[in-house]
Symmetry: C2
Subunit: 281 residues, 2 copies
Amino acid sequence: MLFDQITIVGVGLIGGSVGLAAKSRGVVGRVVGVDRNTDAIARVLAGAALDDYRTDLAEGVAGSGLVVVCTPVDRIAEVIIAAAQYVKPGTLFTDAGSTKAAIVAAVRGNLPQGVEYVPAHPLAGSEKSGSGFSCADLFVNRVTAVIMSPFGANWERTLAVGRFWEALGSRVVLMNAEEHDRTLAFTSHLPHAVASAVAGVTQSDWLRLTAGGFRDVTRVAAGDPELWAAIFAANKDSVLSALSTFTQRLQEFRSLLETGDHAGLVQWLTEGKQVRDALGT
Amino acid sequence: MLFDQITIVGVGLIGGSVGLAAKSRGVVGRVVGVDRNTDAIARVLAGAALDDYRTDLAEGVAGSGLVVVCTPVDRIAEVIIAAAQYVKPGTLFTDAGSTKAAIVAAVRGNLPQGVEYVPAHPLAGSEKSGSGFSCADLFVNRVTAVIMSPFGANWERTLAVGRFWEALGSRVVLMNAEEHDRTLAFTSHLPHAVASAVAGVTQSDWLRLTAGGFRDVTRVAAGDPELWAAIFAANKDSVLSALSTFTQRLQEFRSLLETGDHAGLVQWLTEGKQVRDALGT
């Protein structure tokens, strides 16, 4: 057991899954959930993810050794700063936000002595949202990026948070916030924008003429628009930069097609295939 | 049984699956395969998709009531025109090409009296290629677009070909070639180009930081570059037009993100979500 008690703030798909995984794997003794939506909490509680729940943040975090913030990205920093007033010395904070640099910057300098925030991003999720889709195995064989603080990371505390995410089944990768955000702009945020754009230019009476390709390319477009708008905003510069690189790549495709350059088109497609083949099925 | 004997020209994933489906469902008495690649044929023959095979087109099509051309799109028209010299009067041709208008135009006026080509496109396939991936159920619950000839379609013959694709398990949709190509540019060809472009701008050491979203968005990028270069070329104008519409849509995303228009971004994402939700999981 790594912690006697943890608190999960924001009990949706990710928060509910953290609770289920932590309980079912014996990682923690007790799980307290905090959410404004009591219906969501009730569902997760019934699913054995939580031992107790509160709608009040101060009550919810009291006595926990680890607070896992699983709210939308645009609320993570304010939740950490607010909750930090109510925790005991030595309490650790981590989170599951899809972007990191903006949150790190907002939290920096705003925590009491002895309270540490070790940012994390478990690369797991679904186009579904809500605690009803929680799953104890959500993190198994997934990567969790654990962020090294640029302002003097405490080794023991970073290790403790890394071990927590590892104990939920994920593989931990240590990186800094900026590298994380630049990379995720390409591997997650750009693909989401592109999937949504493909769906957005598709007329509904064309849907009967779709097959597996369209279905897969657009799957993530079913994700929660509010959550994703916040993610894009929190990683604005890197997303805009990835978008420029992508647009330029697509412009190469256009030129090759316009000029009828068959060999060039085959080469262009082969470069994409090589990357995808390296990922495996 | 709809035909005593059919010939499949081009025994890859699609051709092999046509043979397996036709035999296993009792749709035809006998299946002859024609391919230049004798290895591919041998594998499919062993898999019960073919009764006989030839590397010579004239020998392969002799005596068949239906010839199903499953070659890459850039070879379909020439195969049909060449084979038409060797078939008996009343023989029907169909195909499985992903584009239709260019093939219809090339074949038009080049068939002997009494021989009819009823173009088709079963919306089934895989990023895998080769007869080794053939599957008897490939067409089940998929749509097959059957093209109405703009120059006086013969009702009985269109019906016979439609019934063949239906008998393999697919649902038939009748449409004209231009409508087919314009729609597929959005529902298949654009998604493929976009998937390949996303993969193409991804550095290989970023792949460990990918999750299900990236995996799905880029899956089709693993497809055969030669096959896809031919598809894009055969539907060039419609693909370029779809690409312009897509680029404009993505430009809207960029503007909304740049100006920090949260409500606009949520609305933009919601429009894509509505289309994807309408498709179902």
